[in-house]
């Protein structure tokens, strides 16, 4: 493993490369794409019913409305989309499976004309029974969301029970669960829920598509997974992936919502109908909420047993996810949940189920936190309550049971050295933990004035880093006199700082100035048609590919000059942009070489390399693709107003084990951002459906955290236990920073006012109602 040989680059603050463009208004986002002045504008007609047969009338009036270039419905284009299972239609054909499903797409001279024309279409629904929650979905004999499930391409790949609306089910077991509970002195069973969430990026979904003269399609899209989208769209439109070119640009937030195809399929389809005129689609905020994806809602049941001395002997947990009417985008989520399902504890006897349940709601897609945050919502409250039953300090109880390096967890995976203990200890230290603080018990006499009460809570979490088969990455570097150093990566910068990371690493490895390096946005045309680049764990995949590419590049440059100098390259190196020989003490500035060549070679050289990284166990089982677990911990100090149930977060600390912080300030910025987003998920956010129709369509009905919701103190903590196989010992951060916030806050609320909230979000109303109930019970 390589550790910083040039500490002024790796491990030191490095500004985000894209920041200047973003701050001067130069960066192009989806709504800024203007391919030609005569661009057309697409609008989509979305279903208003969750489950119905439907008919579209008056289509000709819409089609011939002045200014309309093209109109498509499911009758014109009956096709299905999906990566693993094609369980959704590009445009609904005869029936709708969820409100927000595209029924028709139109292209017109202006968005206003498109809207006017769409309004001419008469939609007649004949309602069918709808499945609106997990309970109803699992009721035997109830309506089936997908009666034709077995006919969907890819259905065989899933462990489904379509009659029960179970789209997919994963189970991990170890030990002997019955024996485990028999050994336990106490057993605690609880249910926990978490609401549907929204990704709610500030930039809504959008982009431009244009048919080329040869019949191929070019798309300028601002999304997280261009290769995956190319594959899904090509398959749906019966095209060769080579016929679709996706040029990416800066993404104004994704959080998982711009990975899978939602409305992009309709854009591609309509652009094939406009005789080469480019078509722009840009969703309104309302459509972004009600016409793309949600994150799945959870209903969990956890049963845990422990001995009197605090050893957890068994866990049986079922995590059911309401994935809406399509499971395709949620499959990765299910895997992550199954692997993380015990929480960070070495429990010898465990049965963990992770199930996707179909309902007639908006399809779900992974959201930052991947469901692992919700798993810990359950586990970390459960362990705290169990500790209380045993009269134990909850921190001691956690410490005794935490997974340690060397623990064998899954058939193919042995736990590595990890930062679980360190993260846990550092967060409680950061908020000045008061170890002896007893759980509050509500003893206020009737009529006593309500108070504001303070409590502390904590949670530890782990998140699996799974390198799925699609976790390859490819990096191309070209060095010449015109562009100096141009780097093309297949990942997309969604604000996480990918381009800064690439620049920083390339500068360090090639030992050239940062200013020479330009990172180009991904263009799928540069890759083979079957290429599936990663869209997550980029530090790992792109980092490894980049290390290979820079090594190749360095060798290519040195070999060129070695021939001229007639020296072995083993004596040569690049230092601060100069090629040097340690043996002959010769030096040659790389810029001179690029300008004039060297020796007999007087034409300017062009150096070009491509390197590809593939995960080591591609094609293997899930647990063989498991690379590591990232550790996180949260601690919170909250104040609860007994009068209203309102919560103020006074202090929030989060620690994340990132292996090796290559850009510490950037890591801290990501941690802080994750903390705010977690507070938002925990206290504010809930996607409301009314009879299956999304009712949270704007930031009033779906508030997200503002500066007013920030904790008074934020303590981001970077923990570094090197990830032996990661680039420079580093580990990805992304999802993991969401894990642990919600239960830490819930545990703190319990300490403050003695009530446990087991349903997310923790609203003031829920706290108030729980306090009332407790008061009634004690009276």
């Amino acid at each position: 493993m390589m550790i910083s040989r040039k500490p002024h680059v790796i491990g030191k603050p490095f500004p985000l490369i894209e920041a200047q463009k973003k701050l001067t208004g130069v960066t192009c986002y989806a709504g800024d794409e203007t391919i030609t002045p005569d661009m057309l504008h697409a609008r989509i007609l979305f279903s208003q019913r969750p489950s119905a047969r439907f008919r579209l009338d008056n289509l000709d009036a819409a089609r011939h409305f002045p200014g309309v270039a093209a109109l498509l419905t499911g009758q014109d284009l009956a096709t299905r989309m999906g990566q693993t299972i094609r369980d959704r239609e590009l445009l609904a054909v005869e029936r709708v499976y969820f409100a927000g499903q595209p029924l028709a797409v139109i292209a017109a001279e202006t968005p206003e004309i498109a809207d006017e024309a769409l309004a001419l279409i008469q939609v007649t629904y004949e309602d069918l029974p709808a499945v609106l929650d997990i309970e109803q979905a699992l009721t035997p004999g109830g309506p089936q969301v997908h009666p034709d499930f077995d006919d969907y391409p890819g259905a065989d790949a899933l462990n489904a029970d379509p009659q029960q609306n179970i789209a997919h089910s994963l189970t991990f077991t170890r030990g002997d669960i019955e024996q485990g509970f028999a050994e336990a002195d106490v057993i605690l069973e609880r249910s926990y829920t978490a609401a549907h969430l929204q990704h709610a990026p500030m930039e809504t979904h959008g982009g431009v598509a244009q048919r080329q003269p040869d019949g191929s399609l070019t798309m300028w899209m601002h999304l997280q997974a261009p290769f995956l989208q190319r594959k899904i769209i090509a398959q749906a439109l019966h095209m060769d992936p080579a016929q679709i070119r996706i040029i990416t640009g800066c993404v104004g937030g994704s959080f998982g919502g711009k990975v899978f195809v939602s409305v992009e399929g309709a854009l591609a389809a309509i652009a094939l109908q406009t005789e080469g005129r480019p078509v722009r689609l840009l969703l309104t905020r309302e459509e972004e909420f009600a016409g793309t994806f949600t994150a799945p809602a959870m209903r969990a049941h956890v049963k845990m047993g422990a001995t009197r001395d605090g050893r957890i002997t068994a866990i049986e947990a079922t995590y059911d996810w309401d994935v809406g009417a399509s499971v395709d985008a949620a499959l990765f989520h299910l895997q992550a949940v199954a692997l993380a399902g015990t929480g960070p504890y070495a429990i010898p006897n465990a049965t963990i189920r992770s199930r996707a349940i179909y309902t007639n709601l908006l399809p779900s897609a992974p959201l930052r936190g991947l469901g692992i945050a919700q798993v810990h919502w359950a586990i970390e409250q459960h362990v705290a309550e169990l500790a209380e039953m045993l009269n134990m300090n909850p921190i001691t109880m956690r410490q005794w049971n935490l997974v340690k390096g060397g623990d064998r967890l899954f058939p193919n995976f042995t736990m590595h050295a990890n930062g679980l203990q360190t993260c846990g200890l550092q967060v409680i230290d950061a908020i000045n933990w008061r170890p002896a603080a007893p759980a509050h018990s509500y003893h206020a006499p009737p009529g006593a004035a309500p108070k504001k009460r303070i409590g502390q809570g904590m949670a530890i979490g782990w998140s699996p880093i799974i390198l799925s088969d699609q976790c390859g990455s490819s990096v191309s570097i070209r060095i010449d006199k015109d562009n100096l150093c141009d780097i093309i990566v297949d990942g997309v910068d969604i604000g996480q700082g990918l381009y800064a990371f690439v620049t920083q690493l390339a500068s360090f490895e090639l030992n050239i100035p940062v200013e020479w390096i330009t990172v180009e946005p991904t263009d799928t045309a540069n890759y083979p048609p079957d290429w599936e680049a990663t869209y997550h764990n980029l530090l790992w995949s792109t980092g490894h590919a980049l290390l290979k590419a820079t090594a190749k590049m360095k060798r290519q440059i040195l070999t060129y000059l070695a021939k001229v100098w007639k020296e072995p390259i083993s004596n040569m190196d690049i230092v601060d942009g100069e090629i040097i020989s340690y043996a002959s003490r010769r030096r040659f500035p790389l810029l001179d070489l690029l300008e004039n060549g060297a020796g007999e070679e007087t034409s300017p050289p062009v150096f070009s390399v491509t390197a590809t990284y593939r995960p080591p166990n591609a094609g293997g089982s899930i647990d063989s693709l498991l690379q590591s677990f990232a550790a996180t911990a949260y601690a919170a100090e909250v104040q609860v107003d007994e009068k209203t149930g309102g919560v103020t977060i006074l202090k929030l600390a989060a620690a994340a084990d990132v292996g090796h912080a290559l850009n510490p300030e950037s890591v801290k910025a990501q941690i802080k951002g994750g903390m705010i987003q977690s507070v938002s998920f925990t206290l504010l956010e809930e996607m409301i459906f009314e009879n299956g129709v999304p009712r949270s369509n704007n930031f009033r009905d779906y508030p997200i955290a503002t500066t007013a919701d920030m904790p008074q103190q934020l303590h981001p903590i970077v923990v570094e236990v090197p990830q032996q196989s990661g680039p420079y010992g580093a580990r990805d951060l992304s999802h993991h920073v969401q894990v642990g916030a919600a239960p830490a806050i819930a545990n703190a609320i319990y300490r403050a006012v003695g009530v446990r909230i087991r349903d997310l979000p923790i609203t003031a109303q829920r706290i108030y109602d729980a306090m009332q109930a407790k008061r009634a019970e004690e009276a």
Binding site: P15, L16, E18, A19, Q20, K22, L23, T24, G25, V26, T27, C28, Y29, G31, D32, A200, P201, M202, E203, T204, C250, V251, G252, G253, S254, F255, L282, T284, R285, I494, G495, Q496, G497, E665, S666, K668, A669, Q670, K672, G673, G674, M675, I676, Q677, S680, N698, F699, R700, I704, A705, T706, T707, A708, M710, L714
Partner: protein, 155 residues
């Protein structure tokens, strides 16, 4: 109905023809090409389209272009001068005040309005000034720090 109006945008007088129902946001983005002003919600809830109108922060999606006739408008594009970036822009770069960047121009405008009123704002005042600017990346802490540092650097 069409209206001939003038706007003084980032110090430059611009003439344009707008429809009655056209918003200032649309006029700035589509007619004047100032795409640094972002569209986020069209309902005045997210602040991505914030601009200064005669020195006051407005959501440009909530103002009709005709209402802004003859007004002085400042957008994020107008912050930098020939001498270089505005201290706020520099500070946002140095202190990670930007992640995905979609909210950044609106944040800068709200910050500029604050610094016009108060040269050395307290953290509480900054939080209050930014309450109408949403950032889904949750970069608020670093945005606040960026503004604080910029205010201290100013003469």
């Amino acid at each position: 109905m069409k209206h001939e109006i003038q706007l003084i945008v980032n110090g430059e007088t611009r003439s344009l023809t707008v429809e009655s129902q056209q918003t200032l946001l649309e006029a700035l983005r589509e007619d004047l090409g100032l795409t640094g002003v972002k569209h986020g919600c069209s309902t005045g809830e997210c602040g991505a389209c914030s601009v200064l109108l005669n020195g006051e922060v407005v959501n440009s999606c909530m103002v009709l272009a005709v209402e802004a006739a003859d007004a002085e408008i400042l957008t994020a594009e107008g912050l930098a001068t020939d001498e270089g970036l505005h201290p706020l822009q520099k500070s946002f770069i140095d202190h990670h005040g930007v992640q995905c960047g979609y909210c950044a121009s609106g944040m800068l405008i709200s910050a500029k309005a604050l610094l016009n009123r108060t040269s050395r704002p307290h953290e509480e005042e900054i939080r209050e000034a930014l309450v109408g600017n949403l950032c889904r990346c949750g970069a608020y802490a670093d945005i606040i720090k960026s503004i604080q540092v910029a205010s201290r650097a100013r003469r």
